[in-house]
């Protein structure tokens, strides 16, 4: 155990010495890191098809990279893992990137996958709940500290519903409390969980925050500003190989599903097909219609302002400072595609 704990410490010291003493941009002679890890937010499902296809088809290897894709979990959270250098790349919500900058964590978004938020508020069709105004006096499942909470607060603010008039119930990723009607509204990943609820026999409706003017994004690819500064070629290669993976997953979702099933035989094919269809809608939303993975400055600006107005952000964050989209822009330019 000792050398395992000492090694990162040693690395940190070496890193500090190197950055402290030289403090110059790396020259072409310093070799870049090519053995990298990619930390997902959750299980390796269609939500991450781009990475999984790129890995299975050898696009990372072709680009000279040795990539290990690692699953997320309730406590395997990409932001701390990437920020501390335990992992190289990670997937997280756009809001997390903006918030982390305010906390002094220097991470940059390399690509925006979900142009619209995957979060939805699931209700039983017979509950009579049709809009956020109907939340009043009802029990809403809440995941504190999650982007779900941000989206929920934004939705209430946008529709003028007093948060005190809604009963919040702490929940987790299991749908059982909703299905047992111990909660009337349950925040879900629209790409995934409605299928589970329907399979369990529930007749459900979804309420989307974007229908009420709350425009938030979802999954983005990120790394630390420092890693991107020191390894520009690795970053470009990783982003562009992933873009290739996504393009193939969008063109042939069935093949991508086969790749995912080969990796995790316990996944359900019907479930993955549902997830694929819903995920593609989010990827193709807005600027993604033409350029999957591109970042729309205006949408990022709007999200930063929204988070500021909710008090989630304490100061104005210029999205330009957290976006590093050269690799994506270059990818589409080289194909002659104009994104904006």
């Amino acid at each position: 155990m000792s050398h395992r704990t000492l090694l990162p410490l040693l690395l940190l010291v070496v890193l500090l010495v190197v950055t402290g003493c030289t403090n110059t941009a790396p020259t072409s002679t310093s070799p870049e890191v090519t053995k990298v890890t990619m930390r997902l937010q959750w299980l390796p499902q269609f939500q991450f098809a781009g990475y999984l296809v790129a890995e299975a088809r050898g696009y990372y290897r072709d680009a000279g990279l040795d990539v290990t894709i690692l699953p997320g979990g309730p406590d395997a959270i990409p932001l701390p893992l990437v920020a501390t250098g335990a992992d190289t790349f990670g997937s997280t919500g756009a809001d997390t990137i903006l918030i982390s900058r305010e906390q002094g964590i220097e991470v940059v978004a390399l690509a925006t996958w979900f142009q619209a938020s995957p979060v939805a508020f699931m209700v039983h069709r017979d509950s009579g709940i049709r809009s956020p105004q109907d939340f009043v006096g009802r029990r809403v499942g809440m995941f504190y500290g999650d982007n779900v909470e941000t989206e929920y607060r934004a939705l209430l603010a946008a529709t003028g519903v007093d948060p005190a008039s809604v009963i919040e119930i702490p929940g987790d990723y299991s749908l059982a409390p909703f299905l047992e009607r111990r909660a009337d509204v349950w925040p879900v990943y629209a790409t995934d969980q409605p299928y589970t609820a329907r399979a369990a026999g529930a007749d459900i409706d979804l309420i989307l925050a974007r229908d009420y003017g709350v425009e938030l994004m979802g999954d983005v690819l990120f790394t630390t500003a420092e890693f991107a500064r020191n390894n520009p070629n690795t970053v470009r290669a990783f982003v562009q190989a992933t873009l290739r993976g996504w393009q193939e997953a969008l063109n042939d979702p069935a093949a991508a599903i086969e790749i995912i099933l080969a990796r995790s035989p316990d996944f359900d094919r019907g479930h993955l097909e549902f997830e694929a269809a819903e995920t593609i809608k989010l990827l193709r939303y807005g600027i993604g219609e033409r350029c999957v993975g591109a970042s729309d400055r205006a949408v990022w600006q709007k999200e930063a302002q929204l988070l500021r107005s909710l008090g989630v952000l304490k100061s104005d964050i210029d999205p330009e400072t957290v976006l590093l989209t050269d690799a994506v822009d270059e990818y589409y330019r080289s194909q002659g595609i104009e994104c904006r």
Binding site: P8, G73, A76, P80, L179, E180, D266
Partner: protein, 317 residues
């Protein structure tokens, strides 16, 4: 002769004065014990325990494993288990309880047998993390406990911190362990070691301190070195404690590995529980829980067997 808790422990408690909480079953075995005449030879380890525990130690030591005895001991529990399984199998659908809340035993068995669930693969992953963690935990606990005997200031300095460490919610460390130790088996084995080492350490320390002052004085009078005292007196006296500590540690190592996997892993029974709960496949989650319980039970059994072989005097008495 009146036996007191605080009296020197080497005096053998006459069986007729055993405390009133003896059940009739116990008395039955006490009668058997009276026939034994080898009381005075060697150290009577049972006498090192408080009176009530003496009964338990003697009781445990005396029961011969005949089919009749086995049925007497396990029969009621087995019958209850069978009744429970039948009751759940019929009762759950009758009560209209959906399978995602509580699946019937047959559904759980069915889930366990589905090849795509890969129960054996995931059980193997959890078992390796638990065993590696257990091995590390045993090394740490035994080394520390023995070091404490030789270097008293070490114990004085560390013991309060160990007690404090035991009361820390180790579960909260799960996300940090992934950051510190990366992926793979290391963070889960570390969690298993963390869970396993504390109870074993505490048990070993109290076991090694068990010999009575008179016994220690006698060894010293004959010029025994600290090492000889450890080998000939302290360790044999501690072995029953070490083994009961090991049985607890084995079960806790499995729980520790599981906790590490629940935090986020690509395989193992904890992974299976997380993914199954997310997909409302509660039958799979129950299959994983049953496999984890089985794993803990196997470890328990192994240590029980080892105890019977190694601590033979407890059995022969």
């Amino acid at each position: 002769m009146v036996e007191k808790h605080s009296s020197p422990a080497h005096t053998v408690l006459p069986t007729r004065q055993l405390p009133a909480e003896l059940t009739s079953t116990m008395e039955h075995y006490v009668k058997i014990e009276k026939k034994g005449e080898h009381r005075d030879e060697g150290v009577d380890f049972a006498s090192l325990f408080p009176p009530h525990d003496q009964c338990m130690v003697r009781y445990g030591a005396m029961v011969k494993t005949t089919p009749h005895n086995l049925f007497r001991r396990l029969g009621p529990a087995l019958l209850l288990g069978v009744a429970l399984v039948i009751g759940l199998e019929w009762g759950l659908p009758a009560a209209g309880i959906p399978a995602y809340l509580l699946p019937t035993p047959s559904r759980v068995i069915n889930a366990a047998l589905q090849p795509e669930v890969r129960l054996i693969y995931h059980t193997g992953a959890t078992a390796s993390a638990a065993l590696l963690g257990l091995a590390i935990g045993i090394c740490i606990a035994l080394t520390l406990a023995i070091a404490f005997i030789f270097v008293r200031p070490l114990e004085d300095a560390l013991y309060p911190w160990i007690l404090l460490g035991q009361s820390l919610p180790s579960v909260a460390l799960a996300p940090l362990l992934t950051i510190w130790l990366g992926d793979g088996i290391a963070p889960r084995a570390a969690m298993a070691a963390l869970f396993a080492s504390f109870p074993l350490l505490i048990a070993t320390i109290s076991g090694l301190r068990r010999p009575a002052p008179e016994q220690l004085a006698m060894m010293q009078a004959y010029g025994a070195s600290q090492w000889q005292i450890l080998r000939m007196l302290r360790l044999p006296a501690a072995l029953p404690f070490i083994f009961s500590g090991l049985r607890v540690a084995g079960a806790l190592a499995v729980i520790g590995a599981l906790v590490g996997e629940l935090a986020g892993a690509g395989r193992g029974l904890g992974y299976l529980i997380t993914t199954s709960t997310y997909r409302l496949a509660t039958d799979r989650a129950f299959a994983a829980v049953a496999a984890a319980a089985g794993l803990a039970l196997v470890l328990h059994g192994i240590f029980l067997l080892l105890e019977r072989i190694i601590v033979f005097w407890e059995r022969e008495r």
